[in-house]
Symmetry: C2
Subunit: 509 residues, 2 copies
């Protein structure tokens, strides 16, 4: 079983939070590797050395005391539950001869949680983040403006890649102004000294007087800066959190907004020398989507995703994206990536995470994890004898898939289906996106990644805009069944409440 097969980085329903780290030990040391994951149903673990299972190593932590050179090798961890399987990255464990006192330790060994982390050297040659956090917002379904296609796929693609780079990702689609504001506030709470913060925005936007504005989906037809979020203001607040690196990837138009003649009165930025902007297009110019069907990336992400995992200084990486994008004939003279940077250190998205102290890091993890808690999968028992499984998967931080599956039914029932109904009004659930036989039909871009590993005979529903939930998520599961030899369907209903899922937990209203 190679780590590549069955690898499903896009499934927030089963997700690795903490990857194991390579380490170098001396004989007699204790080997500790950790792979932290969340999932629903809860994840199970199996560790592998040189792609063979390690006997008895079935927890999130692998510990081997008094190692010898026999424990050398490449380690990885298979994380799985009933529906999904994810492989951790494969890391090398080197074990030298001699005593532990003389061994070198280029990277901290063992997990970051539950172990005291070594404090970083004062001027470490390899830069490190104290944590990495990304907020991804894609606005598509504008109330008063042209609808966009690409943001969903773009946010989804970047979220998957950033997770591979150990970023804590919050990904949100279609936000109103107040919701964007709250999302940014939550993002800022996740930032702290030395944290790498990344903001990606895809949607309508404009640039006036050197400031960039993101347009929420509820912006009126003639919007001004009062209806929008100013990127530079977010940057100022990030600087106040003493972030280690501030990255903005702005996938939006930068034309002037002639309706808006307000000159923003922002205070001066600090000279933190750690700010990098990657604009999808030049000042005064537009950013384009490719018209290659609903599920294709925009121009910027098409090229960005080719390079994002490269182990390069972020400025060098974006410069390569610019060069790559420059080869595209169709946008020549209309769109070109613009890079702005005052980054003075060689920092990269691939930099390791070295939390300064256990507590702060845990607090952040908790805050972030809150926004990614899915309801527990559960079995509903109906009076007629049918048992229905109710399962949940996260597509974005504010979009959840619920699936129902009949797992047991009496022999005298010939046919039965469990459908969701009475979903909360504030979610504006589109009936086209409920109780469909395949994930594709509910409009999920995840469909290709998801289908193979997912149970068949399910009905899928897609709930968008979870940030709008005012109370716990309650709905009715309506079982429709038919006895053998009968023509008519009978209904049995069961009310379900599953708490506040995903981003709803943060009460963004």
């Amino acid at each position: 079983p190679s780590p590549a097969s069955g690898y499903c980085p896009t499934m927030a329903g089963l997700q690795i939070l903490r990857q194991p780290r390579p380490c170098r030990l001396a004989e007699g040391d204790t080997l500790e590797l950790e792979c932290g994951a969340i999932g629903n149903p809860p994840p199970q673990y199996q560790w592998f050395r040189n792609r063979r299972p390690v006997e008895g190593a079935q927890g999130p932590q692998l510990q081997v005391k008094l190692v010898t050179t026999a424990e050398r090798g490449s380690y990885s961890c298979r994380v799985f539950n009933l529906f999904h399987e994810v492989w951790s990255r494969e890391v090398d464990v080197e074990i030298g001869e001699g005593s532990g006192q003389t061994s070198v330790a280029p990277a901290p060994c063992g997990g970051q949680q539950g172990h005291p982390a070594p404090s970083p050297a004062p001027s470490s040659p390899i830069p490190a983040a104290t944590d990495k956090v990304a907020l991804l917002i894609g606005n598509m379904h504008y109330l008063h403006h042209k609808q966009l296609q690409a943001p969903m796929v773009d946010v989804h693609a970047l979220a998957a890649l950033l997770r591979q780079l150990d970023f804590k990702v919050v990904s949100l689609l279609d936000l109103r102004k107040a919701e964007m504001q709250m999302a940014v506030n939550e993002f800022l709470l996740l930032l702290d000294k030395g944290v790498y913060g990344l903001l990606y925005y895809a949607g309508h936007g404009y640039e006036n007087f050197g400031n960039s504005f993101m347009v929420p989906i509820d912006a009126p037809s003639s919007y001004t800066s009062a209806h929008c979020l100013c990127v530079q203001r977010v940057l100022q607040r990030m600087q106040q959190r003493r972030t280690g690196l501030n990255i903005f990837l702005l996938d939006m138009c930068r034309k002037r907004n002639l309706n808006d003649d307000v000159i923003p009165q922002l205070g001066a930025l600090q000279v933190t020398a750690n700010i990098v902007f990657g604009y999808a297009t030049c000042a005064d110019a537009e950013a384009y989507e490719l018209s290659q069907g609903e599920l294709s990336n925009g121009i910027f992400v098409t090229f960005l995703k080719r390079w994002l995992l490269e182990d390069e200084k972020i400025t060098v990486l974006l410069d390569k994206v610019a060069e790559d994008m420059g080869t595209l004939e169709i946008t020549r003279g209309r769109q070109a990536l613009e890079l702005r940077s005052n980054l003075s250190e060689r920092r990269a998205l691939t930099d390791p995470i070295r939390p300064p102290a256990q507590d702060e890091s845990s607090a952040r993890n908790l805050q972030w994890a809150k926004a990614h808690v899915l309801p527990e999968s559960r079995h509903l028992h109906f009076d007629c004898g049918v048992t229905v499984q109710l399962g949940f998967a996260a597509e974005f931080s504010n979009i959840m898939i619920i699936f129902t599956r009949v797992v047991a039914s009496p022999e005298d029932i010939a046919q039965c289906e469990a459908k969701l109904t009475d979903l909360p009004e504030e979610l504006d659930v589109d009936l086209k996106c409920t109780n469909k036989e395949s994930p594709e039909e509910v409009g999920s871009p995840l469909a290709p990644a998801w289908s193979p590993g997912c149970p068949s005979c399910c009905l899928y529903s897609r709930l968008c805009g979870l940030q709008k939930l005012r109370q716990e998520l309650a709905f009715t599961v309506c079982l429709q069944y038919r006895y053998r030899g009968m023509d008519d369907f009978v209904e049995e209903r069961q009310a379900v409440s599953v708490g506040k899922p995903l981003i709803a937990k943060l009460n963004l209203q």
Copy 2:
């Protein structure tokens, strides 16, 4: 004689305009190398192969018909006149066996002037410039603002480096608004399709609403954009010239100018994907000089000059400068290089020059050369029998050094000196900068580079602001001499007119 010894790139008094180019030939081909220089007195030439003089090769062009492998080697050209010596770069000539028809020619062989240039391939893998032109402006002596120290040394250092990179350099110190405007106009005339244009500015500046403004030396105490030059407007006009690369190196403050609430109404920039800004500091921040004496570079150029000759894409180069500058403790949190780029191709300052056609290139060369013509050195014969040599050297395009030297005097004259006087009023000549016994005394930053090769027993005068000359440069040489056995000095005067030197030729007023 190694090419390094006596190398004096800063002396505009003797300057190589066209460097020889490496080439690959087949046996039987004709080898043609060219080294074009201007100087005063006119330059002489000696070609070298493998650092040994080539017999009879004493012109600007070296031609060898029917070459054999015996002509393989490294060629360079020594260019010299009475006062100076400059070495061309050393280039490899490879001569393969076989017929000329089968030889490959990766770079055009022979000089660009006087030979038909090969037209560039439609999508050449190595980017090339059709020409390279740099305008360097340093403002120091402000009439109503704080005086600056570093611009003179910074402009001087960059001019020397850019000349090594084959840039046509116009370097100007202390310009008023009208003069800056005219200098920019002349710069634009030198630009054309595919030309690399570079603008370096050191002096007071500010940034409002995303636009950068350069402050001329005559700006009033409360200046607004009406008194200044807008960099983005220069960029727009460069784009109109269809330049191949637009580089701005802005060594100035970027704080807001609160006196100026005019919002510039610039049209939109074109998406040419070839614009690179290197700012000495971040938005809202200041740029610093180092207080290490009069002749030290500012922070930006101190680091820039370490990297400028590297054969790297200009964005990568500036990113390295940013990283290097980031190591400086003294400016941490106050100044950090900011890079802005939408450059989509891998273009570098080191790219070769391939002129598209002979005529356009020659016209540009002529226009530029006009601004670099020094008066002819001459001998003045006085009635008393003394002969005085009058010599000229360019320090910047608007600053010239004149030196006088007694080359012959009758035996009965015990002592004599030739001094300049009656210099044109509009030049505001500082008496402290005339008729001094060493170049250092006239305030020339060139002094260290210049002194060793320059004649002794001279009197030096430094004429600044040549752009202000309204007519031909006329002055009086006043010979003061004393006969043997006499105590009193006698004077004899001679009026001299030397035409319009250097930038004055362009009539910038």
